[in-house]
Amino acid sequence: MKLKLKETSALPGFGLSLGYTVFYLSLIVLVPLSALVFRSSELGFSGFFETIRHPRVLASFQVTFLSAFKAALVSVVFGVTVAWFLVRGRFPLKRLVDALVDLPFALPTAVSGIALTALFAPNSTMGGALAGLGVKVAFTPTGITVAMIFIGLPFVIRSVQPALADLNTELEEAALSLGASRFQTLWRVVLPLLAPPILSGFTLAFSRALGEYGSVVFIAGNMPMKTEVASLLIITKLEQFDYAGATAIAVALLSLSLLAILLINLIQTRATRYLGNA
């Protein structure tokens, strides 16, 4: 008798499709990723921390982490505004704006990188004007944050937009008719309902920014200890044939991203359960 691992179904092709999926997944993703895990286990704990504790590595983590966090926060503010506009605003070319939201996904990161650098370089119109105000963007941590906002914005918009569209306006009308001000309605009724999609947009933007390379590397200036992001440091270590160092930084970076993703899933499950009970 066969082990019952799946529910009976009249459809054919389960074995073939599942077999191929698992085979291809292993070949392209799992086996290569396991190389990273095994390599880092060869380092051992002490070797791992030896690399991670190096001031240049710590500095790169700090820059990456802080910039990604700030960028994700700004992306939330900007993203909620744009999502609100896309769902509730009245504007003739909304469809066009909606299509443009995905530009950072569609534009190769190297192109966004050189475009943002050209836009904010001290010798450009905008960069010059900002420098006149005492704000330096290109080749500073602010530049890194700007590039990460560019990359993270669509994540927030695309998480919040459908939730906002599904939002039951009756709740808002009820709050308004019971005497709440517009601001109170927004703060007490709408925002709590939007909190899960906002949080998941934030986490997606943050996790993407942590590993971002192409759009950041041109505008960052790449000064060790100051504007060197973690993903660039991996490449620097590789160019010096320091495989162990590159591996240790990669493992730390990957663990952080996975932790962030795990957090989103937790939030989503909680939110679904909460809304399901309500």
């Binding site: 054919p12 599942l18 291809y24 390599r39 530009l103 495989y243």
Partner: protein, 276 residues
């Protein structure tokens, strides 16, 4: 009724909202795109044409197209197979498999490149064996293809899985009970139902495959005219201070991005119309 429930505020409220949203989108999204075009044509159309038909640029374009032509079909076949297994059947480990399919999205592109160096590089696991047999994976075409396969892995599958789960399998079961074979059922019933979702996934996969930078940058070795894809060629030119040439090549990639967005919007509209 005073106002439509879906609308925000009055005239001024809407105006403020539009102004804020358009300022964000304009400054952050549209302006960089315009800068690329401005810089690309800064030396006139003739210089732009010369930059994009330069020998190295052409070989970069061909390499990019070639890699995409291998990667997109492979990941499409995988996406359909994975969606069939995951969406149409309930089995043990299904949700684990679902997370593993999404895994490459959580991996930094640079880390994605690194893992192939660790496997196939000179000091990698298979490095000695490969060099004994005079095979090159890293700093050569196979490495670029593998890295691109990795970063574009989930695109098609992740579009199809929710779509096919939602559609269920009643139509397929009806076709089968009427005597259709499995393949006939797939071609005549499933495929027409998922065509827009499938196309959507392919468009996104294609855009990323042509534009991938971080992962390919790690495995390619930047050999001019040999292992430089178009995004890498942009970087090489930029770092040589050939700004106009760099932006000219970048304008080709921006064109690709715009075509992607247009196609994506069309497919979304068609899909929504079919679903309605």
């Amino acid at each position: 009724m005073k106002e439509h429930p879906k609308q925000t505020g009055g005239f001024w409220g809407n105006l403020a909202l539009c102004a804020a949203a358009l300022a964000i989108m304009g400054l952050l999204i549209v302006l960089p795109l315009l800068v690329v075009l401005k810089e690309a044509f800064a030396g006139g159309v003739r210089l732009w044409l010369a930059s994009v038909t330069d020998q190295d640029a052409l070989s970069a374009i061909w390499l990019t197209l070639g890699v995409t032509a291998v990667v997109v079909p492979l990941n499409t076949v995988f996406g359909v197979a994975a969606a069939w297994a995951i969406a149409k059947f309930r089995f043990k480990g299904r949700s684990l498999l679902l997370s593993l399919v999404d895994l490459p999205f959580a991996v930094s592109p640079v880390v994605a490149g690194l893992i192939f160096i660790l496997l196939f590089g000179r000091h990698g696991w298979l490095g000695t064996w490969l060099s004994e047999h005079h095979l090159r994976v890293v700093f050569a075409l196979p490495g670029i293809i593998l890295a691109t396969l990795f970063v574009t892995f989930p695109f098609v599958a992740r579009e199809l899985i929710p779509l096919m789960t939602e559609q269920g399998s009643e139509e397929e079961q009806a076709a089968l009970s009427l005597g259709a074979t499995g393949w006939q059922t797939f071609a005549k019933v499933t495929l027409p139902n998922i065509k827009w979702g499938l196309l959507y996934g392919i468009i996104l996969c294609n855009a990323r495959a042509m534009g991938e930078f971080g992962a390919v940058s790690v495995v390619s070795g930047h050999i001019r005219g040999e292992t430089s894809t178009l995004p890498l060629h942009v970087e090489v030119l930029y770092n040589e201070y050939s700004f106009t040439a760099a932006f000219a090549c970048a304008s080709l990639l921006s064109g690709l991005a715009i075509v992607t967005l247009v196609l994506k919007t069309i497919v979304e509209l068609k899909g929504a119309r079919d679903a309605a």
